[in-house]
């Protein structure tokens, strides 16, 4: 089976967020770009399926400015992916989800996969749009918020659990399909040093910007325009409730929740 994993470079979780000079986006100065947490789960899922079904190959695919995309592709290779494709962002580097989905679909047309895995969302924009949009573009069924994906060896059977409102749904789909993974349910492995070193020299296929731009063009008119990127006003710290007895503390809090915060009927 051929598996494709879609991976996105996102700012490291420790990044101190700061708007750029125009106040429109995150200031990229000094940001370390890493594999998105949800995508780590997708890579882990791909590797688990590969280990269970010998002969399976896993290709990681990423879109973005070359240096960023190739950084996370090397992480994916170091973890055990077999091949990598980088979609070079055009100069104006559109980041809206549907345009990005069109770029990823281009790579998937060149390298058809029977299973496309991705994270249910990325840790930066938390959109969750790219995966289902890729599925719609390629005419694939898609299943979101999935965990425990298992393959029975034939084209008929991929089973999984999905965490939806109220519980876990057990679902099944024929291949080809796209599955978007819930984060961190599978305890992603970390790369071993020799593999990290090997991944530094591994070849990465590059799809040039001009070709990517042509694939993205149809959604230029619908792309959202960014008007602002803001940090919330700093939290000033809790208003501490003064009390002599626990009962007094409890009564004061209930009154505040009711009258001041209005979160309690």
């Amino acid at each position: 089976m051929e598996i494709a994993v879609l991976v996105k470079p996102v700012p490291d979780a420790e990044t101190r967020l700061r708007p750029d000079a125009k106040g429109l986006a995150l200031d990229p100065e000094g940001v370390k770009w890493v594999l998105a947490g949800y995508d780590e789960s997708a890579v882990e899922q791909a590797l688990l399926l590969k280990e269970a079904a010998p002969g399976t190959t896993v290709r990681a695919i990423s879109y973005g400015p070359v240096a960023r995309a190739e950084e996370v592709l090397r992480s994916a290779l170091a973890l055990g992916c077999d091949a990598a494709t980088s979609l070079e962002a055009p100069p104006e580097a559109p980041t809206d989800a549907v345009s990005v989905a069109r770029a990823l679909a281009l790579a998937l047309t060149k390298h058809p996969a029977s299973l496309v895995l991705c994270g249910k969302q990325a840790g930066d924009d938390e959109g969750g749009i790219v995966g289902p949009a890729v599925a719609e573009l390629l005419g694939l069924p898609d299943l979101g918020v999935a965990t425990n994906v298992r393959w029975d060896g034939g084209p008929g059977g991929l089973t999984m659990e999905r965490s939806v409102e109220g519980g876990l749904e057990q679902g099944r789909t024929a291949l080809p399909a796209l599955v978007a993974l819930q984060q961190a349910w599978n305890d992603p492995r970390t790369a071993k040093l020799p593999n990290i070193l090997k991944s530094r020299k591994a070849p990465i296929e590059r799809i040039p910007a001009a070709e990517v731009a042509a694939a993205m063009a149809p959604s230029a008119a619908t792309a959202p325009r960014r008007l602002g990127f803001r940090l919330p006003p700093p939290r000033t710290g809790a208003k501490m409730i003064e009390y002599k007895t626990p009962e007094e503390a409890a009564e004061k809090l209930v009154r505040i929740l009711r009258e001041e915060a209005k979160v309690f009927p």
């Binding site: 924009d125 749009i129 719609e136 069924p141 099944r172 809790a238 626990p246």
Partner: protein, 324 residues
């Protein structure tokens, strides 16, 4: 005049709270235009009256029992065209959000998820605000017209008042593309373990306990408080890693992200990995014996004290307040 279509999602026969919130948003951006609801699947139009939509389109077919994203996208696009809607609003549920990318492609619409504010702006565009980076920042976007599809962040909007007026229901002619859209093959459903109260991601009040609670048995004090509030129960990773409560309780970077109206952290220190999962809650209360605990820096209200004294007293006070 712009019409707005809302997907009415049903859970166990009742319209999901998230869909009611979507109706309110639809009304606020419709500028007097019609707000039309789409109901899918067997079960008739049950629950559709009183929601505040002008009419309901009903897509009924036995094989829409567990509609897939692909099928719902076909139905939404067809219903929006039938109702001359220019915007589709879907509830911020797991299933609802999964539709946005598909509808954006199929219906050639501008899209945003996790929306917390929305307003119309000139020439058919919408301005939306949405949290990013786990609520540590927000972005504002303009979604160009003529078509948009939005998923809302749960609890970010209040549902409109219900109206007793009967809602006209019309069948939606099932579009041709429906047969080609892959169906979802659902084989079973396992309700969340241990959850007596509302679902963690869905609840408007969440009470979470941390390592400070001490033992799995004593975690009951947290559950009693949650029950008094009618709240969902959450936990820090210290609690789930120790096996005191199942992993499905975990709030944070590697657990669930929640944004209820009220989040109460009991015996939780406030590690950054926990904070990112709850910081976008509207009001945060912390109860911790250490007045220097970092959780007090993100909380709105704090009680410094022994949780085993404070929490039972609070449970009593909440019960008393609710019985009046």
């Amino acid at each position: 005049m712009t019409g707005v279509l809302v997907l009415l999602e049903r859970h166990a026969g009742a319209i999901a709270a998230a869909s009611c919130e979507a109706v309110g948003v639809a009304r606020s951006i419709a500028n007097g235009g019609p707000v039309v609801g789409l109901l899918v699947g067997p079960g008739g139009a049950a629950g559709a009256t009183g929601l505040g939509v002008d009419r309901v389109l009903l897509a009924e077919s036995p094989n829409l029992d567990h509609p897939s994203g692909a099928q719902l996208a076909v139905l939404l696009a067809a219903a929006a065209d039938a109702a001359s809607s220019t915007t589709i609003v879907v509830p911020g549920t797991a299933r609802g959000r999964d539709l946005v990318g598909r509808v954006a492609v199929r219906w050639n619409a501008s899209a945003a998820t996790n929306v917390t504010e929305v307003a119309t702006s000139g020439s058919g565009a919408l301005r939306v605000t949405r949290p990013v980076f786990g609520g540590r920042a927000t972005e504002e976007l303009e979604l160009p017209g003529p078509r948009q599809v939005l998923a809302l962040k749960p609890h970010a909007f209040s549902p409109p008042a219900t109206s007793p007026a009967p809602t006209p229901v019309e069948p939606l002619a099932l579009p041709e593309g429906l047969a080609k859209a892959p169906a979802l093959d659902v084989r079973g459903f396992q309700p969340t373990v241990g959850g007596k109260g509302p679902e963690l991601g869905d609840a408007s009040i969440v009470v979470s306990g941390g390592r400070g609670v001490g033992t799995p048995e004593k975690f009951q004090v947290v559950e009693d408080l949650a029950e008094a509030f009618g709240a969902a129960v959450g936990a820090s990773r210290a609690v789930t890693d120790a096996g005191w409560r199942p992993a499905s309780y975990q709030v944070g970077q590697t657990g669930k992200a929640v944004s209820p109206q009220l989040y109460i952290a009991v015996g939780i220190s406030g590690a950054i990995q926990h904070i990112v999962g709850m910081v976008s809650s509207r009001v945060i209360v912390a109860i911790n014996s250490d007045p220097q605990a970092p959780i007090f820096r993100v909380a709105d209200y704090g009680i410094a004290g022994d949780l085993f004294a404070i929490v039972p007293a609070l449970t009593q006070a909440v019960r008393a307040a609710r019985s009046h």
